[in-house]
Symmetry: C2
Subunit: 228 residues, 2 copies
């Protein structure tokens, strides 16, 4: 018999693990590794093993020793609920409280754990049912559904490809501040001018302006919806 998710409560720590495992399994291979989770959460592999055990008992992840974890259907629901709250609060902070988009992540990390489904729905309504957060990441609806066109990392695109910059797949303030400094904003049209094989760096023209130079470390995190 499957446990009733509605009645389940997860601690802040558990929610953070579930969210991280969800993100990592979205972004990559089957079987998320202990080390990857430890890195993401700035904790130690041994701690991850312990927590994974507990989450497996609660049936929010599937786990077999030495084989990595996978998020379960139940776990996906929990993760999407947390992600929904995180992104709604980010919209609130930027749209209503006039924060810059590089300042909101840390605060949203706290707010995402506030427990009240009515609150989430009211906030969503107050914000006008936004479809994306300030970084362009889609906001799941109440049922956990969200729409996104297919996107690729800028680093995967070829010379002369054209696309729309729709999302930053990284919350590091340094990256966001750098993008601000370079005047690179979400929704900008771009064209790949040149790509250096040796180091993967690229020359990109945003909004038909003079091309800028971006390293592979940066282009990896810029998600593009291809246009043509």
């Amino acid at each position: 018999m499957p446990k009733i998710l509605i009645d389940m409560n997860f601690s802040f720590a558990e929610e953070n693990y579930i969210k991280t495992i969800y993100h990592l399994s979205q972004a990559g291979e089957v079987g998320v590794s202990t080390n990857a989770i430890a890195d993401q959460l700035h904790t130690k592999p041994a701690s991850v093993t312990d927590m994974i055990r507990k989450l497996a008992n609660k049936e929010v992840v599937d786990y077999q020793k030495y084989q990595g974890v996978n998020i379960s259907e139940q776990g996906k629901k929990v993760a999407l609920e947390v992600i929904r709250k995180h992104r709604l609060w980010e919209v609130f902070l930027v749209e209503k409280l006039k924060f810059n988009w590089d300042e909101v992540h840390e605060i949203a990390e706290q707010l995402e754990h506030i427990r009240s489904s009515i609150l989430t729905e009211r906030l969503d309504e107050f914000l006008g049912y936004p479809k994306a957060d300030p970084h362009g990441d889609p906001i799941p609806d109440k049922e956990g559904k969200f729409e996104t066109g297919p996107t690729v990392a800028l680093s995967e695109m070829s010379v002369d490809d054209i696309g729309l910059f729709v999302m930053v797949a990284n919350d590091d303030p340094h990256l966001l501040q750098y993008l601000d400094k370079m005047k690179i904003k979400l929704g900008m049209k771009l064209k790949v001018i040149d790509k250096v094989v040796f180091d993967g760096s690229m020359q990109i023209s945003f909004s038909n302006e003079t091309p800028v130079f971006l390293s592979h470390q940066i282009t990896q995190h810029l998600m593009i919806r291809k246009v043509a």
Copy 2:
């Protein structure tokens, strides 16, 4: 040498104890009792003793075995910061998210622990620097200062006294719902029509309407600013 408060971080649990001790020492005698704290926080006296010890080490309370606790100057600052956040969030929930005033306490109990001084200031600004929360409780400013005229519990007033209903000194949803049902709202003018010595119950006329009957248990918690 006094510890630097700015650098201090308190856990949710610690903040709740500090807030409760502050409230209890405002509301009553010197030396808040272990049992009173335990009742308020729905915990056991033994747990309270442990926590008080810790808070005394951190110098936010003054404590001597068997003599009860008192909040220190440092502790007062921490308490007022938490109270400030609690009340600002309550205003947000009622004014912006259209919650009823009897629904906000539980959510504000969570939101009051969000750590970000910029957030608090921005929220305050967004709400237009409100002076009181939806229950009429004053909101401390950044420095912990707040203004409030002298108030008395309705239960302490005499026949023919007139006053303004300015605050509910209790967050129990049942009480708030009852007040809603009776159409008793903050800011209403009232007059004491009759007072029964035997049980302390009172007949009160709100806004010159037909008098309503209120038990001592209720009139205890209705705070009145005397008018004449």
